[in-house]
């Protein structure tokens, strides 16, 4: 009985893992193929089904003058914009969320819950609606086609996520912990930094992960708000495409772009399960 269930369990997990891993493996093998190996029917195993080549990867490093699309600079741009925007979002979002969780705000019929909803409602709006206002605003500020302009736009997009996650997190932290800190001689600002913040790291890590995923994968605003000076990774990858679809270099670029998220996810997962910090505050 027991072994039967164990077998069943492992079989299910194996099948599921194959579903998840298969696209990656497919992309990996495609990235080493040339035109013929891609177009002449499905091929699977290198050296047996097809002769591997590094051409797909080389294109990514070659300058446009040499007939390539250099993704190194867009890559670094993306890292810069995503990290800075996430950092600012978490910083402001955590402060906003703490205030929303601990203090009562009231302006007419608008109360704390409405303000929280107002934040998240920014994400309900289709991005297209925001495109033109953003374009005009950045234009007036002279920030079109700059990294700083992109960072500002991404903060607007990411902060609601941070606020939403952190409000929920703070609501689960007993307010008596803050009060105890006050009684123990902290003023409200010290209480926040010495007691509340150190205990909020798990929530901030989760919020940070979401911000990074959304920031990193955005194509729409990166495409509209930049032209020639700066380029972000998703836009660079799309520009790889030409009349003959270069599946090999697209696959290579896809793998490279997904890599940092996988690394971050693993670190976060490790961190959350090891410290079991989410359970520390009951």
């Amino acid at each position: 009985m027991g072994t039967f269930y164990t077998t069943l369990k492992y079989t299910a997990v194996t099948i599921w893992s194959m579903f998840v891993i298969a696209p990656f493996l497919w992309a990996l093998s495609t990235s080493f193929k040339d035109f013929n190996s891609v177009t002449s029917g499905a091929t699977y195993i290198p050296w047996v089904d097809f002769e591997p080549t590094l051409e797909g990867w080389r294109v990514l490093l070659r300058s446009p003058a040499q007939g390539g699309v250099n993704i190194v600079e867009p890559y670094l741009n993306s890292i810069f914009v995503t990290c800075l925007a996430s950092f600012i979002s978490i910083l402001l979002g955590t402060l906003a969320a703490y205030a929303l969780s601990r203090y009562t705000f009231k302006a007419g019929f608008i109360k704390n819950d409405d303000i929280t909803f107002f934040f998240i409602s920014q994400r309900i709006m289709p991005p297209v609606v925001l495109a033109i206002p953003f374009f005009i605003m950045l234009g007036k500020l002279g920030l079109l086609d700059t990294l700083l302009g992109l960072v500002m736009v991404y903060v607007v997009l990411l902060m609601p996520i941070a606020v939403w996650i952190m409000v929920d997190f703070f609501n689960k932290v007993p307010v008596e912990i803050d009060e105890t800190a006050l009684i123990d001689g902290c003023n409200p600002i010290q209480a926040f930094f010495k007691v509340v913040l150190p205990n909020s790291i798990p929530g901030m890590v989760v919020a940070g992960l979401f911000c990074m995923i959304f920031g990193w994968t955005d194509f729409f605003f990166a495409f509209i708000l930049t032209f020639t000076e700066v380029q972000l990774l998703p836009v660079a990858i799309v520009s790889l495409n030409s009349s003959i679809t270069p599946w090999w270099s697209l696959s290579a670029a896809a793998l490279v772009s997904v890599a940092p998220l996988i690394v971050v996810a693993f670190i976060v997962e490790r961190y959350l399960s090891k410290g079991n910090l989410s359970g520390a505050l009951k």
Partner: protein, 359 residues
Amino acid sequence: MTLIASNLTTKGKEEFFLNDISFEMSPGKIYTIIGRTLSGKTTLLKTIAGLIAQDSGTLSFNGNNFDVIPVWKRQVAMVYQQFINYPHLNVYDNIAFPLKQRKVDLAEIKDRVKQAIEQVGLEGFEERKIQALSGGQQQRVALARSLVKNANILLLDEPLVNLDYKLREQLREEFKKIFSSKASEEAILIYSTTDPIEAMQLGGEVIVMDEGKILQQGSAKEIYENPRSTKVAEITNDPAMNLFDGEINGKKITLNNEVILNIPKHFKDLPDGKYSFGIRASGVTLDKSGFPFQIELAEISGSETFLHLNNDQIHVVGLLDAVKNFNIGETVKVSFDIEKLYAFGSDGILMSSPYSGTK
């Protein structure tokens, strides 16, 4: 160093959290606030701590206006009924936190933390994480943190309610010892509870609260012997005092048109008329020549048995000084000890108690 509250009032949407609270508390004493849940105990403690601002009324401490001093500058300490500690710090750092915050020098912090750890019996746990402690140990840490700063006012909000029964009993004894040394050091100790026995056992000054109001203040003995009103009698007795509508008519007392008793000596000054009469379970005993009642439930407690009894009109709790099993519905004869009878006016205010003479 007295704490004086005058006319503290805090109003919620409809109900009062605090309703015209006035008192004077002096150092070296334990004040036990007893009241049911939502009676305003926690609100009062938090107001004293400065965590909640009252709508009106003033607090003064040591002759100074307390209201203008923010929480973090008041010399108060508080222990909550939930086990509240700083989860990111170990036991030592938790207890040292208030001292570090006040920039006490490191050698002194070490001494005082060590002393506090000894007081609450947590030696050897200094490096432990809070999450690795049992509930009782966590509450000891919270207590140590409140003792270590030698606060002028120590607030304990039902600190034992979430602990195992026997642990509660044991900690209560320990608390009492710690407090008696602490109290002599010029601190005001305020302890809130819902449990009458706990209030009695702590043995300090008792303050009875209900619906945001102070109903009575006095020694535990005073409140046991002369509860000012029917409400106080209900709150401060476990099981709650039996209360009946009834009347005095000449030499007789009639309870709920049902039970007729002789009038006890201490009622001799009461005029005829309608009253509420009260008697504790210990005044209602089995007696072959008594009134017939059905057993609703018999519950054994140590060497005694509480009898929940009823007949058509009256529900009453009696006490049998032995352990005995009864069937539900069984008929027994019960007598009321008239020497233990209380009389309250129609407004619920105490008119006569068995202890009137000894007042």
